[in-house]
């Protein structure tokens, strides 16, 4: 839970500026941007995501480093399962 997953903002929804489609370890999911409202990210930016909320903007290099940390910690599979939302992400 302490570990964050890096993701790249693909699209910010025009009907809800606090919500974005983010590519997280190859999985696309909706991420809440509400905690970055003082320093709003734009498509193409990298963010660190905790429990579905973008918590800080980071560089592409930091994102790659964070991914390698997750890989070394053996947390990648768990992270992918998590961001898929245990099936809930596909539900409408």
């Amino acid at each position: 839970m302490c570990l964050a997953i890096p993701g790249k903002i693909v699209e910010i929804f025009c009907d809800n500026q606090d919500s974005a489609l983010v590519d997280v370890v190859g999985v696309r999911r909706k991420v809440d941007l509400g905690l970055l409202q003082d320093d709003k990210p734009v498509p193409g930016d990298w963010v660190l995501i905790h429990v579905g909320f973008a918590m800080s903007k980071i560089s592409e290099q930091d994102a790659a480093d964070q991914m390698s940390t997750l890989r070394m910690l053996g947390e990648i599979d768990g992270a992918i399962e998590e961001v898929r939302g245990y099936g809930l992400e596909d539900a409408n």
Binding site: M1, G34, L48
Partner: protein, 375 residues
Amino acid sequence: MRFVDEFREPKLISKTAEEIRRLAGTKLHYRMMEVCGGHTHAIYRFGLKDILPENIELIHGPGCPVCVLPMGRIDDGLSIAQQPDVIFAAFGDMMRVPGTQGSPLEHKARGMDVRIVYSPSDALKLARLNPDKHVMFFAIGFETTAPSTALTVMRAKAEGIRNFSVFCNHVTIIPAIRAILDSPDMRLDAFIGPGHVSTVIGCRPYEWIAQNERKPIVVSGFEPLDMLQSIVMLLHQLRAGEAKVENQYKRVVPWEGNRAALRAMAEVFQLRPYFEWRGLGFISQSALRINDEHAEFDAERRFAVPGIRVTDPKAAQCGEVLKGVLKPHQCKLFGHECTPEHPIGALMVSSEGSCAAYHNYEHRKTAMVSLSPVA
């Protein structure tokens, strides 16, 4: 040194390790506490203890949210979920944590509607998808996850969602560090500060540790090199007789924290006068509850909660391990009655718990060495 070759920049790692040995010398023994459970996991996974000299001892801190939650709170959350038409939603980390009558997963096997969610916003989504049911989100975590719960409650209120509530177990890190420093059986020289909690609270809240307690603290990232560099920074301070707050994880942690996240927390939560922590007892002003303005989303006010204190199984020494007084393997149950497959205490459940980390890496390594044939 088994993982050094896998690390990024192995040369820099070796050089930093050498610098640590030089700074640590041989005369003094240094006890450093890594506060965050994520750091504990990383230390064992990366085998950092093999790299560090023997006179640097890492003490595992209280920063594992499921580990510090007393069993009575798990029972309380499950008792709410036993009421008709309630869905119990929680992070995956919570699912195998034992309550008196079993874990949430065991309750699910007996018919309770238990769902794993990745995010509090997914729990809110469950409420939208199940208008005939009430979704209770079992919220845990330090300041890393508390802002997300707060924002979710704000979203629920704005949307007028009425079948959603939060059973709030959010705790705050500073009072826990204070309790550890006040503990008479604890002697610490320095702290490795939590990385992601600090993205929210920033570095300023740690200043009293440096100023009043005269202990150095370095907020650290999670990569092996991050943690080794943090130890170098701590040793420099200790040798110079200094006590400052430093930020090794500047690329992610701003000194002032995340103001939007702090605002969301202030909007939705109020401090509890006191809260019970496993191993540390009652700590005043150490936890959050939903405030009066958002009372309709507070599961503790919407439902009757037994609130019965449950003592841990007598033989289990989770409390001593949590405080850093005992090492995981010094607990009587470690590796016999209590294993990651059959956990008795929460420290054996979460990957951030020191018992699980120790069992998964150190213990197995030792077991393998003792099993290998003598050449």
